[in-house]
């Protein structure tokens, strides 16, 4: 009896630790995705030259007055190719205009990509030096931001968009 009580406390502590650690393994709230500090804040100020038309730049003001999907991509990004079909579907849906940041890319390659796969974007800014992407806290393409009409960053998704993610995480947030 005395031996049992002597081991009871350490055993209970060990069991508790085990439960906490196992729960932590399976119940990571963000599943390894880094939460952006931009969420709920005004979108950063930026201005990028247009990829297709130099005279129509992509700026913070471009994203004002309507909901926007801002998509960061590049022709060097394999997952972006997989995502492209979803972007075309979103464009066809016509509920939210898509704006693109072409991240550290070759302009000619980017134009060829759009010619081949179709262009889902209202407007594309060429971020040739990757400075604007840093201001948006981008760390891996593709990344997608939902911007409210007042210019607030409402949601961010890292990785390829799918119709399900678009429906559940983006459209559900439109007011």
């Amino acid at each position: 009896m005395k031996i049992a009580s002597r081991f009871a406390l350490p055993l209970a502590a060990f069991a508790l630790l085990l439960v906490v650690l196992i729960a932590g393994l399976y119940h990571a709230p963000e599943k390894g995705v880094i939460v952006s500090p931009l969420l709920g804040k005004p979108a950063p100020q930026f201005s990028l030259p247009g990829l297709l038309d130099e005279s129509s730049p992509l700026q913070a003001q471009t994203l004002r007055g309507h909901w926007s999907l801002l998509n960061v991509w590049g022709t060097w990004c394999v997952e972006c190719r997989a995502e492209h079909q979803t972007l075309l579907q979103i464009k066809q849906q016509g509920r939210v205009p898509i704006f693109g940041i072409d991240w550290k890319d070759d302009d000619a390659k980017a134009r060829a990509w759009l010619g081949e796969l179709g262009n889902p974007y209202e407007r594309i800014g060429a971020d040739r030096e990757g400075r604007v992407a840093i201001d948006w806290g981008v760390y891996g393409a593709p990344e997608s931001f939902l911007i409210s009409p007042s210019g607030t960053v409402v949601y961010k998704h890292v990785g390829a968009l799918t119709p399900e993610i678009w429906q559940q995480e983006f459209l559900s947030r439109l007011l």
């Binding site: 939460v35 952006s36 500090p37 931009l38 990757g130 840093i134 806290g137």
Partner: protein
């Protein structure tokens, strides 16, 4: 002796020759030292267990460029770290900052040590009492 010196020189110059960082060093050695410290304190967001200084990926070199430019522009270390945290969150810092949210985690080692000392003292006291009782018993016999 000469061989040993040569070997030492080769060892010391080796890492420099293999360095990932292609940005020329800052003109002022003090600035360059701060640059090295900062790029080792900041995480490469793409390959998350490497520092900016050690990572060959594009984003890391872009962020090194930013640190370099901000140092030249006369910003303080704190300003540069704040700049990075505002964009990428505290995850970019290898040493998380203390806040009310993580205060319990920071204080955990001290708390655990106190618990350990408490248990240790009690065990020792019990044992001493035990030994005392035993020796009294043996005296009685």
């Amino acid at each position: 002796m000469l061989m040993a010196l040569l070997a030492l020189a080769a060892l010391l110059s080796g890492p420099r020759a293999l360095a990932i960082d292609s940005i020329p060093p800052l003109p002022d050695p003090a600035l360059q030292q701060r640059y090295l410290t900062l790029t080792h304190e900041l995480r490469c967001m793409q390959c998350q267990n490497e520092s900016l200084a050690d990572s060959p990926v594009g984003l890391a070199s872009d962020l090194r460029r930013d640190v370099h430019e901000q140092l030249l522009a006369g910003e303080s270390d704190q300003q540069i770290l704040d700049h990075m945290v505002a964009r990428y969150g505290e995850f970019i810092l290898f040493r998380p900052r203390m806040s009310w949210r993580n205060a319990w985690l920071w204080s955990l080692p001290a708390v655990l040590m106190l618990v350990g000392i408490f248990i240790g003292v009690r065990v020792l006291r019990d044992r001493r009492q035990h030994v005392d009782e035993e020796s009294e018993e043996s005296l009685d016999a």
